[in-house]
């Protein structure tokens, strides 16, 4: 076992497995239910789907709140998954840290954009 504490501590590891494992599954269930709910509304529509119908789905306040929750869930879920990829394949700590910072910026930026789109409707 290599020394990985004190000054040799790995600063970009996970070491909180259960919490993120559970969070990834809870967010997955939320997103899966949302997907089914959204698809059902689209599939059971007769004829072509125009702007009014599509935008109308996101018009209700409860749907906005639900979509907001899904956006945040997606960011957290993707963070756990993408960090797993970096931890598995990228060994140099400096590059891994840079990639993890990039992932956070990428996900937070995307989440912010999606929330803006959602709440100006």
């Amino acid at each position: 076992m290599s020394v990985n504490y004190g000054s040799k501590r790995v600063v970009v590891g996970a070491h909180y497995g259960l919490r993120d494992w559970l969070a990834q599954r809870v967010t997955a269930v939320l997103m899966a239910l949302f997907t089914v709910l959204l698809l059902a509304q689209v599939v059971f529509t007769k004829g072509p789907i125009g702007y009014d119908l599509w935008a109308g789905i996101f018009a209700a306040q409860w749907m906005k709140v639900l979509t907001f929750t899904v956006i945040i869930s997606l960011a957290y879920h993707a963070w756990v998954g993408v960090r797993d990829i970096w931890m598995d394949y990228v060994k140099p700590v400096a590059i891994r840290l840079i990639l993890q910072v990039f992932s956070i910026v990428w996900l937070v930026g995307c989440a912010g954009w999606a929330v803006q789109v959602l709440w100006r409707l």
């Binding site: 997955a28 269930v29 997907t35 702007y51 990829i85 990428w106 999606a114």
Partner: protein, 143 residues
Amino acid sequence: MTEIAKQRPEFRNINAITDLTTYRLPPAGWVSILHRVSGAILFLLLPFIIWLFDTSVTSEISFARFSSAFGAGLGFVPGWFVKLVALALIWAYLHHFVAGVRHLYMDATHSVTKEFGRSSAIVTLVLGVGLTAVLGAKLFGLY
């Protein structure tokens, strides 16, 4: 150590070019690595996904821009290429979804036998590709 044990190949440091090409993964292995690949695709294409959401819901004018992206194209990108990227997104989402439900089912019911791992992996791969074909045919206007 016996002769047979000595001849076993060891993969202590996997080389992406010489070793990975000779790997023969079981179906569950394909589901696993494709779960990761599809997740990475969705992560990298997240801005495109939000762009689709943005243009499709913001206004009637932006909705027209959204629709024409799949026909006339998007800037210098032709429409067929936008459709191809959308198809990749559809597969990535479906595979990630089905593989995720498989994970949750296995977690909840402790279905961890070798047989279930194999059969559910095949179902996952077929569902992912099959549903993509159905939706892809719609995307490319076959029905």
